[in-house]
């Protein structure tokens, strides 16, 4: 089994989930609490990775961070090497690709929070930000966990985006799914089977965790 690929995959998935937890919360908050008419525009952009083929998304990201784009040039000048086919470039692509898997459960959880509780918090003198951390986050913890775990699991299994943006560099961007593909191409079915089984077990274990925790959370907090 290719432990280096497994380590790269785990590092990528964990970093993606962590970044999405930070970036996804304000987006989800805005999506569920804003009353702006053009809210649907943002919502549909966030959901776009759900329907786009990963190759299409990967292609646009590759162009956007390539040496001919302003973003790519800026990064090159700042760090000294270009962004495509590096771990950081792959991470950026993963964050964008998994965005809906984090934002949608977050927003769904926020919308479940009773508005009267939030109003009660405001009248008790607690600011909107304070209310978010003291009240909304604890009440949404099942949704936050679901979003973080789903984006972790989704990143673990991504293939098209990795191939487009990351390439296939050992120890840098070769993830488990690319490794399986390589093994099959080399007709090493035994190696591919081992790695595939590993990915299957890990993915299933993660889903078990999400469902078990969510059930437990619901049992402790009966919905009205």
């Amino acid at each position: 089994m290719n432990w280096i690929a497994i380590w790269v995959t785990f590092k990528l998935a964990a970093s993606t989930a962590l970044i999405l937890l930070v970036v996804g919360l304000p987006i989800a908050y805005w999506v569920s609490f804003s009353r702006r008419r053009w809210k649907f525009l943002v919502e549909s952009v966030v959901a776009l990775p759900l329907v786009l083929p990963p190759t299409v998304l990967g292609f646009y990201i590759l162009v956007a961070i390539g040496p001919h784009s302003p973003l790519g040039r800026f990064y090159n000048e700042l760090v000294g090497h270009p962004l495509p086919f590096t771990f950081e470039g792959l991470l950026l692509a993963s964050v964008l690709y998994s965005l809906p898997f984090a934002v949608q459960p977050f927003a769904a959880a926020f919308e479940q929070v009773d508005r009267r509780l939030i109003e009660a918090s405001w009248t008790l003198g607690v600011s909107k930000l304070g209310t978010f951390f003291k009240l909304i986050v604890p009440l949404s913890k099942a949704g936050l966990l679901t979003g973080a775990v789903l984006s972790f699991a989704h990143t673990m299994g991504e293939f098209g985006v990795v191939l487009m943006v990351g390439g296939n560099l050992e120890g840098e961007t070769r993830t488990v799914s690319i490794d399986i593909y390589d093994e099959v191409q080399a007709l090493n079915y035994a190696g591919a089977a081992k790695t595939a089984l590993f990915l299957l077990v890990v993915s299933y274990a993660i889903l078990l965790l999400v469902y078990a925790v969510n059930r437990n959370v619901w049992a402790a907090w009966p919905q009205k």
Partner: protein
Amino acid sequence: MAAEISIDLVKTFPGRPPIRARIAYPVEASTVLILFGPSGSGKTTILRSVAGLEWPEQGSIQFVSRTWLDTASGVRVAPQDRHIGYMAQDYALFPTYTVAGNIGYGLHHLSALDRNKRVDEMVELFQLRGLETAKPRELSGGQQQRVALARAVAPRPLLLLLDEPLSALDAPTRVRLRDELRSLLKQLALPSIIVTHDWTEALTLGDVMAVINAGNVLQVGAPIEVFSRPHNADVARVVGIETVVKGRVVGSSDGMVQVSVNGTRLTAVEGESTGRDVFVCIRSEDVVLERGQATASSARNHLAGTVVSATVLGALAQVTIDCGFPLVAMVTRSTVEEFGLSSGVPVVAAIKAGSVHLVSRQGE
């Protein structure tokens, strides 16, 4: 200038009559304003506007020397900065916090030591000892109400706003807590505004009462004034009870209570109220008029009096009788003609004991 609360606002919702409320009244340490009206009349919207949870399109809200809203000059004070205590109809207790956590939630400006001290005071005052670590879902309705009230008053707000504070409770608890709430509000020496559609709550709790219907304020005054002297037919219809007089319980036996109103004795069924000072409330349609000598009837009360006025309202007529206190009766127009009811005519008013409602009021 006397301390005053002044509310003047316009708020529209699609598909509903616009709310145009103008209420101004002097406020002392523990003045209770009742916003009274049927559901959908706009009373909750007025309360929420005072809390800063609704933004009227136009108007101003002033509390003593503070301006909380003035659309003309663009003043919009956030609910966080109004220093109010607000209790929603269903209490909105925080499910992830304990009783003590709920009460201490608004005390973030205090040090941990002071906060614990204040929470402890509230636990004592609201008789929540032993429940400090319980979660809201483990509490009874009455306990939840006390926690919600404790949470609202713990930060020592300038003004307390209660939206239907008793309506989520079952009937026996409601009656008990109504009297408790009255003494508590006086004890806290905190001005408050209470929304209710229950006339017994208005009488028990209120010092000033605003009758609201279809978004308009119809009358503002002392509750007993509003009940016994409604400005117009709309107010009378909204309050729905025509005779409200002060009385004193003078005795009780066999489940019946004797009440004296200006020397006139009335019999009522012993009910919820236990205090000596009561409001005696009688609906006009529960009063039967008899002519001449009282005949044998099942009604316990036969009050001799004279007609003060008779006003014909379509097929019905409203007759006011002086029987030691003004009593309003609703009879048919044909009765008025048959009995020759006009000012000065002697009549006997018969009222069943069960139709004489007593509402206690402490501290009168």
